[in-house]
């Protein structure tokens, strides 16, 4: 009986709770999709020149787990973190201000929820202090 209860909790209740919260993380569905993403980081300096920066330059200041996924994010990656980047896009763009003497930073996230879906483009723009 104990095994059945454990099975119900692990296989049904936890995933259902996770779906109910709207994330699905405990349903482990992030590994059952082909979500892919790419980041493009552009910084404009005080003289108006535009710099194409590697997203890995944002590494300082982000949580370690997210930092790892910035490496190589300048190309499309099928890592299950596209929505995590999307939720943090303005904050990440603001971190770009610390990478040089820039007047503004633009960070673009391109996501494809699956292989057939059109690209979803989200762009964050911040002015640097």
């Amino acid at each position: 009986m104990g095994h059945v209860v454990a099975g119900l909790v692990a296989c049904l209740l936890l995933p259902a709770y996770s779906y109910a919260r709207g994330e699905g993380g405990l349903a482990w569905r992030m590994f059952s999709t082909s979500d892919s993403f790419r980041l493009r980081l552009l910084a404009t300096d005080r003289t108006g020149h535009v710099h194409l920066l590697n997203p890995v330059e944002l590494s300082s200041g982000v949580e370690p787990a997210l930092r790892a996924y910035l490496q190589g994010a300048e190309r499309f990656r099928s890592w299950p973190v596209g929505s995590a980047f999307q939720a943090r896009l303005p904050a990440l763009a603001r971190l770009g201000c610390a990478t040089g003497r820039y007047a503004s930073v633009e960070l673009t996230l391109e996501r494809s929820p699956n292989l057939d879906a059109p690209l979803q483009v989200t762009r964050a723009r911040v002015s640097c202090p």
Binding site: C11, V50, N54, A65, L66, L95, V121
Partner: protein, 294 residues
Amino acid sequence: MVALTGALLFALRIGGCQANSEGVVPNTAGFPNAGTAGASGGGGGMAGTGGKPGTSGMAGTGGVAGTGGVASAADCERAAALVVGCGPADTCAGNSIVHAYYCDQTSCTGSVATRQSICGDNATCVKGSCYARTVTPTKTCEIPLDCGLPPSVCAGRELLSFSDPSCDEGQCHWKQLLNICSTKDFGAVGCGSGECATHSMQTSGPQIGMPSADPMQPPTPPAAACAKASDCSLPPPSCFRSQAPGNLANDALVSYVNPACTAGACVWQIDLTQCGTSCAAGVCAADGAAGTAP
């Protein structure tokens, strides 16, 4: 009951596989953020000059074997095949790295077993690490943005990335960033195929961890059917508050731009423009600018 549970689980997995991942925020409590502690045992060998990853993690100097190189030939054979273990600093022999590991991985002293790995044609061995020769990027240009970003390459155990291109006399040059793969944060064990190879690619060992959950996503515009892009009117602007490092609120104005008609449905690009202070009802409060699409 068990059969019922299995059937429901199967249905759940099918649903998960077919589900569109829109709106899914990965991770959550099941994947600890800092789950990499001890993954590579600290920073030894980070810059390619010190010992190899795992040196401090495997310490155990109070082991039972004592010192004096009493390890057997079999121990040395096993040590020579190690990827992570304790040993003296790697060195170079020609264009090859000489990896050295103590035969006795318990006491981390005594006799040493070695193994060589060739750096390859596009890399050179310096102080026990392979570094990519930066002849890789050769590209002509008129302006820096023509250059793009070349793919990252492995430089020994670390990852060499390229950034901020400049165009000098028609040739691209990039700033080179050496990313340390062998850190606790990344939980990586080295570099392979142009990316840090993490423990999560293995069947055992610490996982790299997933980003913490963040249920707040930029608001999605209402669904709209279309035959052509001009059928797609711009949804009104709205506000988005994301969490910045340090839990500082980060209000942004959300605009929907560049409409397109894809498979009979309107699709917009989302622009998030930082507000000076706060955003309410599609307007930045700081400057009072109306939230109109650029």
